[in-house]
Symmetry: C2
Subunit: 293 residues, 2 copies
Amino acid sequence: MTLIDGKATATAIKAEIAAEVARMVADGKKRPHLAAILVGHDGGSETYVASKVKACEECGFKSTLIRYEDDVDEATLLEAVDRLNRDEDVDGFIVQLPLPRHISEQKVIEAIDYRKDVDGFHPINVGRQSIGLPCFHSATPAGIMTLLDRYNIPTKGANCVVLGRSNIVGKPVATLMMQKGYPGDATVTVCHRATRNLEEVCRQADIIIAAMGVPGFVKGDMVKEGATVIDVGTTRVPDATRKSGFRLRGDVEFDEVAPKCAYITPVPGGVGPMTIVSLMRNTLLAGQKAIYK
Amino acid sequence: MTLIDGKATATAIKAEIAAEVARMVADGKKRPHLAAILVGHDGGSETYVASKVKACEECGFKSTLIRYEDDVDEATLLEAVDRLNRDEDVDGFIVQLPLPRHISEQKVIEAIDYRKDVDGFHPINVGRQSIGLPCFHSATPAGIMTLLDRYNIPTKGANCVVLGRSNIVGKPVATLMMQKGYPGDATVTVCHRATRNLEEVCRQADIIIAAMGVPGFVKGDMVKEGATVIDVGTTRVPDATRKSGFRLRGDVEFDEVAPKCAYITPVPGGVGPMTIVSLMRNTLLAGQKAIYK
């Protein structure tokens, strides 16, 4: 069994990006600049945004954090988006989700200029990804593809079972896994709460990508010998032994599943760090105007 | 075995649309107006465009056909697209594909105002469909969903195998079949040329949607008893007994497969007429500004 080390892979890629940025700066170009809008003080969101700001430093990017309180109104947020759209120094930006209920996430996402949409959530980037055109790939699916690539995990003709059909993981990673080329060319099955015989479907999988958000959902008897298991779950569960009072749990019952696997990602330290690295890569591409002019 | 009559369903829906248009006109609104650009004289394209013009008449739409010869240059075609984008009388338009090789189809598709893109090929519509937002659904997948709906074919939890991963059928119909609600909520597997054990995968399917473009690909022994088979194939094969010199063949070996099916679409007269009807429905929605203002 090979443990897929997302943290080490992320560190290596950030170093590659930093070297690229150093070259850009030496050539007299400006540093890529990522901005983030954070609304409120949700613990998870605070952590994610702090990780993103730190990753920007590691990559040599300029970063800007714009904060609003929970009670910010939609119009104010849309104005902030519009300012970032028009700010020529900002190459890409994200609005950290989730947003408070009184704000339409979809409206905010669609207000972002797709050429600065480094999260890859705007319908134009989603559509271009589906068609197979150059675009900002959504961060988690792109991170998964990079892990498969860096570990040379065979995907052509593989039975790939995706658990979950969310817009930010399940659907886009299914699209990427079925596309022509490597990593890709897999036979992809997307499962969800309406799926029958889910255990049996999983047992036929060469690759399982678990993105249900249900801690410990994938048990040992659902995985065949030699499978590759990618765990996208990151649910906070209470843990009195931690200072924070919680720990992250994946969708996979790691102790049962790992011994059967050819490759498996841990939680934390698997897909999570790669999601942030994908955001960094998109920001680099935005700074280079490599996808959109 | 129930033969799914796409032609009769299409006729019924066109009558519903015509009634709606009559109401609109009685209310003093203008008739929906579909324009089509046809380049060259490809036999298939001529037939499709003629069918679309005829369907417009049946629906009470105004239609305009704009023709160019094979040697039209890309700039001229893009100007024609731009004129239709700006023509306030035109609610929706299509550029009939394929285009001659010296013209970039993707460039032309992206030049179309997505609010008039009644074929649903523009990245914004593709992305919105994937996310599950209101949009112009691509015509063939929408036609398939309508047939499943009108025949009350159960889809929730069904194993749906999609053969083919094209941008205009395979990928979007997979997305629609996995979405929440009816028709949808199916467990969807997308197969293609890299798929291993394809026969076995098909034998497990409750619903097969065949969109490979390989005549007679799906044989009797690949289909389980009681399955629903939707045949999207429309390959022209030589037939000396026909005045035209050819006939249309589907991807399914109909004579072998039909006796095992609960439901099956014939070729012709199955999905084909529904594709045109979906285009009509999109044009109606465009005329009503029901999706985009």
